[in-house]
Symmetry: C2
Subunit: 710 residues, 2 copies
Amino acid sequence: MQWTKVLGLGLGAAALLGLGIILGHFAIPKKSNSPAPSISAPQDLDLEILETVMGQLDAHRIRENLRELSREPHLASSPRDEDLVQLLLQRWKDPESGLDSAEAFTYEVLLSFPSQEQPNVVDIVGPTGDIIHSCHRTEENVTGEQGGADVIQPHAAYAPSGTPQGLLVYANHGTEEDFKELQTQGIKLEGTIALTRYGGVGRGDKAVNAAKHGVAGVLVYTDPADINDGLSSPSETFPNSWYLPPSGVERGSYYKYFGDPLTPYLPATPSSFRLDLANVSGFPPIPTQPIGFQDARDLLCQVNVSVYNLLELRNSSNVLGIIHGAVEPDRYVLYGNHRDSWVHGAVDPSSGTAVLLELSRVLGTLLKKGTWRPRRSIVFASWGAEEFGLIGSTEFTEEFFNKLQERTVAYINVDIAVFANATLRVQGTPPVQSVVFSATKEIRSPGPGDLSIYDNWIRYFNRSSPVYGLVPSLGSLGAGSDYAPFIHFLGISSMDIAYTYDQSKTSARIYPTYHTAFDTFDYVDKFLDPGFSSHQAVARTAGSIILRLSDSFFLPLKVSDYSETLRSFLQAAQQDLGALLEQHSISLGPLVTAVEKFEAEAAALGQRISTLQKGSPDPLQVRMLNDQLMLLERSFLNPRAFPEERYYSHVLWAARTGSVATFPGLSNACSRAMDTASGSEAWAEVQRQLSIVVTALEGAAATLRPVADL
Amino acid sequence: MQWTKVLGLGLGAAALLGLGIILGHFAIPKKSNSPAPSISAPQDLDLEILETVMGQLDAHRIRENLRELSREPHLASSPRDEDLVQLLLQRWKDPESGLDSAEAFTYEVLLSFPSQEQPNVVDIVGPTGDIIHSCHRTEENVTGEQGGADVIQPHAAYAPSGTPQGLLVYANHGTEEDFKELQTQGIKLEGTIALTRYGGVGRGDKAVNAAKHGVAGVLVYTDPADINDGLSSPSETFPNSWYLPPSGVERGSYYKYFGDPLTPYLPATPSSFRLDLANVSGFPPIPTQPIGFQDARDLLCQVNVSVYNLLELRNSSNVLGIIHGAVEPDRYVLYGNHRDSWVHGAVDPSSGTAVLLELSRVLGTLLKKGTWRPRRSIVFASWGAEEFGLIGSTEFTEEFFNKLQERTVAYINVDIAVFANATLRVQGTPPVQSVVFSATKEIRSPGPGDLSIYDNWIRYFNRSSPVYGLVPSLGSLGAGSDYAPFIHFLGISSMDIAYTYDQSKTSARIYPTYHTAFDTFDYVDKFLDPGFSSHQAVARTAGSIILRLSDSFFLPLKVSDYSETLRSFLQAAQQDLGALLEQHSISLGPLVTAVEKFEAEAAALGQRISTLQKGSPDPLQVRMLNDQLMLLERSFLNPRAFPEERYYSHVLWAARTGSVATFPGLSNACSRAMDTASGSEAWAEVQRQLSIVVTALEGAAATLRPVADL
């Protein structure tokens, strides 16, 4: 999981969805099992099957999956990564519990590794050039698992090699503001080594910002205040608690975009055109190295940084498995997680893969027994090389763009299944809210008491919806995991599901051993989820969502829940930008009209669905309606809206740098135009962005009208 | 119809389609009329209805439509244009013969007109500056129809105003080569007035090329050799023959792109963002004026050109009418033509509109009687402001992009219905070939004898297909009429249908009075199609195609006919570029594999269709298969393939400037790279374009596989 990118768009950001009690609305018949239903049968969600699946998802088996998956480090493209490809293929081709078919798809992608011959080095040098102190080159072997040859030395993937030497300057998060502040204080930055801490901005941004001020090298450390609730001694950290040991170093990709860096918009097949390295953009401009807080504390004065990272073309595979739909095989419910980890990756990503394997086992068993076959197809995916920048999933969307865009009902991502065991946490686009609510109301929450996952969740993350009252709040999707290409590049309704911690009890930026050699099976088994009941809760939630999406006669995507989002974006625009726009003679009137039109059409469509459900609707009629629901999200895509933002085409969820929580194109354009005169190019861009979003909303509303209308 | 743009891509270009005897394949049941069929009924094409429609399409009514439509000049946005909007609405809302609904959609678009106060002037000046001769400001009033106030003065639409004066230089077609040749001959071009003739390149290109050499102004005339088979005297021309009178001047748009110039990619609604005029690209850079050959002949030495064109924001409307589909109302068969003309426009476009109105009358009457309702929806469109650059149709596709792209089965364009009465002429993408063949085999050709339209057509335009043997050849679609945004921007299978002349009997570039004040009802009635039997033949052809597309249970789009095109593109690449590419270490291997994969998948899909047709397939199953057929063309779209080419996203049919008749991106990139060294940016672009087309073909093949396969 790429965590830093989530920050700007995470849970705190506009989470303005609504509650749809789909289960009540959609009369779900109890019907006998029919392994080979007539093709046109109005086959619907079978509550008995749902109950069976919920019952069979086994915490112990998830635990055993995790033990096996995290037994060895399995860095992308490593031999162990390839072993896991085979493990997945074997499980998915199992005659008793496998899927209809499974296949590995291999790409040749550019990865970045520390040199094995010449380790990256950070030294403190004395006034005469002598080395006073050397930072740890590896993490301390605390549990016997940190010492193996396949534990990759911490490095900043894709940072260039180089051996800068200079005075150390502490630069906080390494944001633009941080460096400006140092400059204001009269601190000379030219030729220095900037010490920064993780957080605040994306990993690679720290080097980009630093280089603008002439900084020669960047160090990035994990601050105990950000990750360990301030604790830092060995006795207070793993294996004595879930906190990060002093030698722990967060690895990560420092690449700005996602996908294979050499083949933007093209699948990284061996024959594909590859950019010349000189033409690749998005790599950090200066040598960068991550370190632990133990070393960060000891750094002084003059520092010597030697980075010997190597770029290599490597094979990396996705594994895809499918259960063919009985009635609408051309509609795909896509469920995925990445497989590669930085080291053992018990939490990131194996907790998700352990859940994935248990889900596919239970569904595969029902399938092979002839008890059940879904109405629509279910596709399971194990992505490669996510840690280097969502590479496997991105290449997959590039290779099968049209097929996926035309046929995918929704994408469900479970990467880190369990950050901690307090509560569910879901990020997703508005149409998926209702199916998540329906599923979680019917599943018991782990832990004491008899709460549903939903009722537990609402205690931790909630908001007051104008439509539904108090409901759990969904976060919005950034680019932190493999859902990014699906939502931003293809416009497919997506969600990311996990169990996480109680934010009132810890201020940890993420679970403390994230991307370090301490993220191991024992860590999960002892501290994160003893008993694996949170893993089971995530498996049940995801399983119920998969079944509801694949088996419901009417697709449980509630498009009218977009109205709340649009209304809140509109209100933010009016309140926070209205006066400014007016000064520049820009009217929000057309946007108001477009939002109103969307609201009206979405509500009318909801009415037509209700009416249809009361009758005995024809399967073809329901298919046409479902197509409207499935394809709504595509209406918000405009590949020409943000030509500079690679892959980002969704006019509602593109990255927002502007401070107002409104339509991102408008927000970003306004913050750039703010200090320019009326009539500037920047203000023209504000108007263009306004027209782009108005056109998207009007176009979306047009797709919701009765299909025979003009 | 914008003719010049067709030249590069017209009939002569790769017309490599194949013949599918769809009628034989698809068992079409004769069934009783059922005005309200059960929603899921496998309703299929009804041959009795088809016969009824063929019988009722009335040549006399088409003639009367044309008389009314061409009674007055009806320039885009003129009062008469608005009258015709009302006429269309009235016809389509008629209780006896109207459609289910009809509506006008109005845009505010930038048009260009000659000033009414200050006419454009071309004068020959003597050595002392005195005016020796003035060119005609208007065409001669030959039939009493050329004198009205609403006959727009000939002008080069969107050419800038200005009053250049200089020595006259004859520059042939005004191509880049023409100006280079003049330069080679030592002729000073700086400050001259270039006299060019229509043809060779697009209208606006002449001024673009001229300006690069410092030319101050451009005149464009119609050469009798190009349009009149060399004839030029009044006794030999209209009204004594179909040839252009000496004073006739071809009007036209000189804008490089299409759509409203101020709102690229956005619908030109009143509130849409509009480019500042300074930021508009694609207008001719220097004053330009079209003249007749009478004046061209008399031009001498020093010439004075005064252009006073004005740009104006005007309202222009599309009229849309719909017949709701009974079974699959969310599938649209879209049939359209533009309504606006330069003057009376009897041929261009009223011949097409006359056919449109007759078709809608016949289908509307069956509908209102309750005799028939199509399986899918049929949408009739009358586009506004085509002559200025396909503006109405383009704005429509911008406004309803997703809705149209997701649901449109095919777009059928009939602009100029009859150029002359010798033979059918069709341009289209490969999947439509078979339905055109099926339709035309069943309709009698006008004229003596008992030939079908198909059998007559094959005598004029034919080719030897590796799959089918000798078949009529379809031309490929350029950007000559309103099909352009549908095929290039949206990736919708499209066709353009007309009757035309025997190319062995005339070398006319187009019908001689094209875009002049002599394109009148009498011209059509006397010379082009006395008796209107060719109009009727076009109406029947279009009508049969519409019914087959809207009523057939299995969509009559034969995607395997793309294989022939791809194979021929591949062969051209191998033969004409193979050696060159090899020199630069670029392999065509991946392209060969991709074409083979497409061929195999398309053939396998064809097999599955045949098998399915033998059984009694379920409507939902057929729908899924039809979706594969309908959406294939979308797989060839890549909005990032040609970022400089506005709207052109179709990787197979984008404009080809390179000389090799192969994939346009490859051809164009090769001709740019040709003279550069290996390793240049230009050769990298060749590789990128190769990967783009390989990815598109592989992606397309993936959509043709059984839908449940990975």
